[in-house]
């Protein structure tokens, strides 16, 4: 009898453990469907939500969700052009240094409080607050807001930052010089408004200790003003956004889906299977799944703004050979970039044609930067061998060895490094090439200490202008690009950014082009590829807008 009791107890314990969440058998459960006539789109994300605090966020996933439920002065349209959002219109002073935004009538936060220009002033001040130490505070400096650096360094109070609200509907930004890409950045979450009263009621304070601040830690601890509101925060699992009836443009949103769910699924294969079952509408595939899903009607490839390159460390302590221009030239000329993009990666990545990627920055004439400049990097084995032989002669040695440092957190860098190794060995006879795989954080640490020979690295644009890339190699940059010093390069960029050409769009563009050509002639870096992403998108889902510089928009998607 006692054994029967034990079995019963075990059985009950099992039922208890399993049944805690309460079950509702059968049926499609998480999204994808149209239960109760509600249209839901479920998007699989492979990195969990990091933070809903838009002044603290640094990752794409968090920015996407913030853009959905908060909003900026403008938003980016499908062609990445800024369109009016919370601001109805704006004026720019003749010298291009003062932007006056006119907010729409009747804007309000989700708690009913009116949204005013003061909320923008407060938001921008918080972004610059030294105590917050926001990793994106540098953007204020990039767009040359008056006193941005001085306030961040604590030299002047935050009230001296060049932003003001002469009245509730007018927001004024003062810049120290004209900035061509200023408007587009106004769609970036770091520049979204923040209501001081609400923020302080959550324990927030521009000078306060972070641990007492509850702001943005739960759906009811933040305010919304975007087309959606954050309605359900299931930590580590799913993040649900529902339509905001109080959004200023709610009428135009009536065809958009009622609900967007971001589902955290670390395993891409599981997410792809769920997609096939119809539970998930959007999945980003890893490289190994591309062949398997290539024929799916929802298979989509997109180009991203990430430009991958090799840094050749001319200040390498262990090996001085990299100071030799001909050696660097040989390394660059012997890489078959087309093969890497099309035969190795196969995920929509394309061969690099220069330092600046494609589909991201457009000149004063509206043309893609890359189309204006054309291809600056070649694959030419004969020329590579000629340069290689010259290099060996100049260096007075026959044995040249190169270590390639790359990260192992994702699959692509390893594949690329291995192929570059093979190409160099094949095209440059006698060269010794070693692989140095590390985790991403180790790679960054090594590169920051300039303790590497050749490093495979990437850069994602912060804004739609070549400056976001070219600035990396100015002489005053200390981090892992700190091996490159060229006065002519610095002079060109200074002329374009703050000097005589700053206000002249055409002349500025020409300077930037010249700077790119200069650094590539110097072999200051070796461009490799621009990465793409393979995705599965339910063909019924329309209107996802991918932005190579800036945040992808799920604000206006429809289904069916």
């Amino acid at each position: 009898m006692s054994n029967f009791k034990k079995t019963l107890a075990a059985g009950l314990a099992l039922a208890l453990l399993a049944g805690c969440g309460g079950s509702n058998g059968g049926g499609s459960n998480n999204g994808g469907g149209e239960a109760d006539g509600k249209k839901t789109v479920t998007v699989a994300i492979n990195a969990d939500l990091n933070t809903m605090d838009h002044h603290v966020a640094t990752d794409g996933g968090s920015f996407v969700m913030q853009s959905l439920c908060i909003g900026g002065l403008v938003e980016l349209d499908a062609n990445a052009q800024p369109q009016a959002d919370l601001a109805e219109s704006w004026d720019v002073s003749e010298d291009g240094t003062v932007y006056t935004f006119h907010l729409r009538d009747g804007l309000k936060w989700s708690n009913g409080t009116p949204l005013t220009a003061k909320d923008f002033v407060y938001g921008w001040q918080r972004l610059d607050a030294p105590n917050l130490a926001s990793e994106y505070a540098f953007l204020l400096e990039t767009i040359c807001v008056k006193n941005a650096k001085a306030a961040f360094d604590g030299e002047v109070p935050l009230s001296e930052l060049g932003v003001s609200a002469p009245d509730d509907k007018t927001f004024v930004v003062e810049l120290t010089q004209p900035v061509g890409f200023f408007l587009g950045l106004m769609a970036f979450p770091s520049f979204f408004p923040l209501n001081q009263e609400f923020f302080e009621s959550m324990g927030g304070d521009l000078d306060a200790n972070v641990s007492e601040n509850q702001y943005s830690q739960a759906v009811d601890k933040m305010l919304y003003c975007g087309p959606y509101v954050f309605s359900n925060w299931e930590a580590n699992t799913a993040y649900t956004f529902t339509k905001n009836p109080d959004y200023w443009n709610a009428d135009a949103q009536k065809d958009c889906v009622d609900e967007i769910v971001f589902r955290f699924a670390k395993d891409a294969q599981s997410a792809a299977l769920s997609y096939q079952q119809g539970d998930i509408d959007v999945v980003t595939l890893t490289g190994d799944l591309v062949d398997q899903y290539k024929s799916d009607p929802g298979f989509t490839q997109r180009l991203q703004g990430y430009a991958w390159r090799l840094n050749v460390n001319q200040l390498c302590k262990s090996d001085e050979t990299f100071k030799n221009l001909n050696l660097r030239k040989a390394l660059s000329l012997s890489i078959n970039r087309e093969a890497i993009a099309n035969d190795v990666l196969k995920d929509g990545s394309i061969a690099a044609q220069g330092f600046i990627p494609r589909d991201f920055a457009y000149g004063p004439d509206g043309k893609d930067y890359r189309d204006t400049v054309g291809n600056l990097v070649e694959y030419d084995v004969a020329a590579a061998q000629e340069a290689y032989n010259k290099a060996k002669e100049e260096l007075g040695t026959d044995s040249i060895s190169v270590d390639i440092l790359y990260e192992t957190d994702s699959e692509a860098p390893g594949k690329v490094a291995e192929n570059i190794q093979a190409m160099w060995k094949e095209n440059l006879p006698g060269i010794e090439v070693n692989l140095a795989p590390k985790t991403k954080k180790e790679r960054l640490a090594l590169m920051n200490e300039l303790d590497y020979e050749v490093g495979l690295t990437r850069w994602g644009p912060d804004y739609a202008d070549p400056q976001t890339y070219l600035d990396l190699f100015k002489s005053d940059q200390t981090a892992y690009n700190g091996y490159y010093f060229n006065d002519a390069y610095d002079a060109l960029l200074n002329k374009a950014e703050t000097g005589e050409d700053a206000a002249n769009a055409e002349a500025r563009w020409a300077d930037l082009i010249e700077a790119e050509k200069l650094i590539l002639d110097d072999q200051g870096l070796i461009p490799v590829f621009q990465n793409g992403a393979a995705m599965l998108i339910n063909p019924e889902v329309k209107g996802i807008e991918f932005h190579n510089a800036g945040v992808d928009s799920y604000r206006h998607i429809t289904k069916g």
Binding site: A10, A13, L14, L17, A18, C20, G21, G22, S23, N24, G25, N29, N30, D48, L49, N50, T51, D53, V56, A57, T58, P130, N131, A133, E135, Y136, A137, F138, D153, V210, S211, Q217, E234, A235, N236, T237, A238, R263, A265, K266, D267, Q269, S270, A271, L273, S274, Q276, Q277, D279, D409, T439, K440, K441, E442, L444, A445, W459, D462, T478, A479
Partner: protein, 311 residues
Amino acid sequence: MSKYILKRVLISLLTLLAIIFVLFLMLDYMPGSPFNDEKLNAAQKALLYAKYGLDQPFIIRFFKYVAAVFKGDLGLSYVLNKNKPISEMLAGPLGVSIRVGALGMLLGTVLGLVLGIAAALNHNSWVDSLCSVVSILGVSVPAYVFALLLAYFVGFKMGLIPILYSSKNVAKSFIGPMIALAMSPMASVSRFTRSEMIDVLGSDYILLVQAKGVKQSDLILKHALRNTLIPIITIMGPILVNLLTGSMVVESVFGVPGIGTMMVTAIQSNDYNVTIACAFTYSAMYIVMMLIIDILYGVIDPRIRVAKEGS
């Protein structure tokens, strides 16, 4: 008995303290920093280090942390869930992991016992061979392979269980991970049960019980099983460790929001506080389990209790 338990609890607490120290030391030597954004300059990094107190010397940080832990404050996350108190972050995932893990262990143990007894009773027959094959598979195939197979065949092809965890249907969502996690404990338990049972069944006291004419089912369950259980309880500790490490991958396959996934991400991104909190939780769970096992020994076999009390 209470003195014995008290002593064990004290030793466990000291062990945990030592574990925190070692974790702290190891993280200090990990390469990289929690603030890996390539856009950060040196001044900003210094600001961030100062903000989270990471600019202080190792020993001061360690004692501050231990003092905070005693107050129930596990610190803030720097990367995973920026500025969120870790005690809040951990609560939900920990509950989920414990439930899935306990279910897997329970299912595995019950199945293992059944298989082991069946094999022992049918010693050297086809039942025995079948049980051996099952347990060899269970031991040698990693849990995540079972997870992938379950997700693909039972989840995708047959549509019987959800592929990804859904909070709206927790019970069903737990089936896949539970079975995947149960395989390894099942295999170990069945092998041990089989060999112990064969030993016990051949012993003199069983012969005596048989001679007294006790029913076969009572003989097995009441007399033989009890002695068989002792070595099995010993292996529960290592089984639990296997379960915990295996659960990280199983959780990620089924998208279960447990602490396994959280810990892996935390380690990868140098989120020191979260890593320590997760590792600390795992260690605490392990130590508590060992404590329970020690106490269980005494309950099942009074001889052990007496011996330990005497020492």
